[in-house]
Amino acid sequence: MERRQSCYMNTYFEEVKPSCMWLGLSGTRGEALSSRRAVESGQRTALPVSVEIDQYAIEVLDFSSHYGSENSMSYTMRNLAGGPNVYPSFGDFTQTAVFRAYGTWWEQCASAPPPFHRTPKSFHSQDYIELAFEEPVYPTAVEVLETYHPGAIVQITACSLNPFSQNPPADVRWEVLWAGEPTKVLTPQARQFSPSIKQLSFPTNLIRLEANSSLLKYYTELDAVVLRGQRERPIMSLYKMPRIDICDLSDSDEELLDPGTSFRRAGDEKYMDLVNGYFDRLPYELIQLIVSHLTLPDLCRLAQTCKLFHQHCCDPLQYTQLSLQPYWPRLNDSSLGYLQSRCTLLQRLNLSWTGGRGALTLTGFSSFMKACGGNLVCLELSCCHFLNEVCLEVISQTCSGLQELNLSSCDRLHPQAFTHISNLTRLRRLVLYRTKIEQTAMLSILTFCTELRHLNLGSCVMIEDYDVVVSMLAVRCRSLRSLDLWRCRNLTERGLAELAVGCRLLEELDLGWCSTLQSSSGCFQHLACNLPHLRKLFLTANRTVCDSDIEELAANCHALQHLDILGTRMVTSTSLRKLLQACPKLLLLDVSFCSQVDARIVQELSGLFPNVAIKKSFTQ
């Protein structure tokens, strides 16, 4: 088989040794001479060329999720700007930045989508934060102060764009400063995480952290981020030219020229049949199977090697699922355009995190949707800030069979855009976490999307009356399996009662921080009695949860797996014991800040019920 040379080989150049002339620009002659000797012996010297400055972030520009309420100072991402408030203390403090989830609890739920095929093993990120600093520098270190359950940071990237500049350049580059695996640190201590970072060839004041909390025992909390760097480009840096990163989609889709006769060896009859070597002997389906294990960039590279592989790698059957989230820095309208011809059978598409800062536009997106959206069943568009109302309209028109739509944290999407979702009548899973959807659009969606199984309205602050919304749910969406009402401000026992009666198949219910629910109304007991299939119940920071509620859960909800009753003063170990005995499938019990359940009780219960992870967070 003859192979076409790939345009991008792994190359790196030898160390570049600066000439003596450069040394003459700074330092004394004596220093210059010794530096030259140092250079020639391959060492660095300490020429006081450039001053290192430390900066704290001045603004949090964007992020994927947080635990706290919008507009609050408690447990929100805005706490990552400025200096540390907590470090070096270790504990659960309000003044830190906390993500919405941790561990694998959310992934275990039925409401979680299955992972996408071809996710590269090196991509671990679940959450991200983008931070702006005052002054662009050439970074020498990035320090993250972690004050609770450290170990979540998996990637640090730097951007060439200055977010405060008046004339942003057309070309925006992101370079990975460091990437690693998610870890969990066993010692209960605050940590200053400062991995060794790559040297950059451009100054930066925009840093992005990506995190994965799946190994952590509780929410990680971040206090501050320090960017240390030099104003001037370090001239003494003996740097290796970086490997040209071949994960570059936009260049990987060049059409292969017709090989024509160059593949045939004249006069060799045997080779006429085996132009692609023994690959020609393999059945088509087998090569398809082999190729289905390649990650997307490898698939694109393989497509350029020969006609046979080009055919295999561009076969639409390889693109029934497509996740472009790991490649978010490089995805733009033209790369999406190149993929269009292969994605005609696309069923699941993940564009989460992509398209920011003008990389994707309405034109590119709608062209792709019109070409490939017809068979789409699942569309992940979390944190897609390029989306606007027209994009949603295009989706509603082209993806008539859409069953799953994720618009998590698309907080810049105009409320009017959500009205188009009601056209997607086959929707089963809808995520609107932290969006600005308004009540009318929500009611309209519930009227028409009666097949909803999973609905996430966490932190949807623009919905005026949750009782009305939940009431409508109870009437129209009887197949509902999971409902996330995290921080819905005004749900009362009226709405909850109707929900319990209308959506009998409900398995997951998140009522965290819904402060208007009062146990004295009997609403939780009513819930327990009516929802025997309940697997997940979050009553986080509802200070009214009491022993009777727990006992009612123990009596009725034997399928219970996850329960969070953080912050109630009314629950004692007696009812907890009953619950643990009655619910053999229980895996998670969060009794943090429950004043009548102290560490000793937690230890005792953990010993008696070793399968249950009993969480008891603390401040000091």
Binding site: M73, S74, Y75, S520, T544, G567, T568, F593
Partner: protein, 297 residues
């Protein structure tokens, strides 16, 4: 009819008045704090800016200087709640709000409302109640914006006289307006005033004005004339002398509080309402003493 001379004098005064107006200059508050907890436990300061169940804060921002005092309602102790937790957290939250610039200088009630809301966002189930008094100096406009809920308060002294003061807010005797977070089982029975019921006052201040912000531990034990007498000793605007004066006021009030024969303002008020009592009122005392000065970085 004005003579030329007197007319001239008027003009001269106006011109000089105009010249000496430092309109362009920013003002600031130089503030010192002092206080005593009711039972002097180990040391005077528990954890900085807390005196017994009282708490206070002093915060600077580019646009404003802000002070606050909060008097934790002691009655919670009978229910197993530490009253200093509420007032302390409230003041710390206000301080954080100011430092992060999440406030409007002309809306001190907003500071209270936002802080109160933030208290409810804490995972820790906070319980308790307190009064609150917030004083904001807008550097540029030279206006003092205040919000007072309850019976803490402030005085503004100019030229040896009280020119502004806060009004006490009481529901009934010894029951001031208070911000509170009640346990769910007692929700209907516990007094809980909304932050927007706070009294709001705004007025101009001049260089040299003295602002005294304190909890009722001071005002219930020291009448105005005694406070003014102490303030006469304040000679200049440097921090040490302000600190000294604040301390002497707090100490004096503390001594009077334990004097069984002294007719304190509190005793006077009780007598006016038919209760025959004498003596001072032992209470936590918190004093924040500020002088309006020019802003230096």
């Amino acid at each position: 009819m004005l003579s030329v001379l007197s007319y001239g004098r008027l003009v001269a005064r106006a011109v000089i008045g105009g010249l000496s107006q430092t309109d362009g200059r920013d003002y600031s508050l130089v503030t010192a704090s002092c206080g005593f907890g009711k039972d002097i436990r180990k040391g005077i300061q528990k954890k900085g800016m807390c005196y017994g169940d009282d708490a206070c804060f002093i915060a600077r921002h580019r646009s404003a200087d802000v002070l606050g005092v909060a008097d934790g309602v002691g009655g919670w102790r009978d229910y197993g709640v530490d009253p200093s937790q509420f007032s302390g957290t409230l003041m710390k939250t206000c301080e954080r709000l100011i430092k992060e610039g999440r406030f409007v200088p002309s809306n001190p009630v907003g500071v209270l409302t936002t802080s109160y809301y933030e208290l409810l966002q804490n995972k820790v189930p906070l319980l308790g109640s307190s009064t609150a008094c917030i004083v904001v100096l807008d550097r540029q406009s030279h206006r003092l914006h205040t919000a007072n809920l309850g019976d803490s308060g402030f005085l503004v002294v100019r030229g040896g006289e009280v020119v502004h003061r806060s009004d006490e807010q009481q529901h009934y005797f010894n029951t001031p307006f208070q911000l509170s977070i009640a346990p769910p089982e007692a929700e209907g029975e516990v007094l809980s005033d909304s932050p927007d019921t706070a009294d709001s006052l705004s007025f101009d201040v001049q260089l040299g004005d003295i602002i005294l912000t304190a909890t009722d531990g001071l005002f219930d034990n020291m009448p105005d004339y005694m406070i003014l007498h102490e303030l006469k000793r304040l000679k200049n605007t440097n921090y040490e002398s302000i600190q000294q004066t604040a301390r002497s006021i707090a100490e004096h009030a503390h001594v009077l509080a334990y004097d069984p024969n002294y007719m304190s303002p509190f005793a006077q008020f009780a007598c006016d309402n038919g209760l025959n009592v004498r003596g001072g009122k032992p209470d936590d005392i918190t004093v924040l003493l500020s002088i309006v000065a020019e802003y230096t970085d």
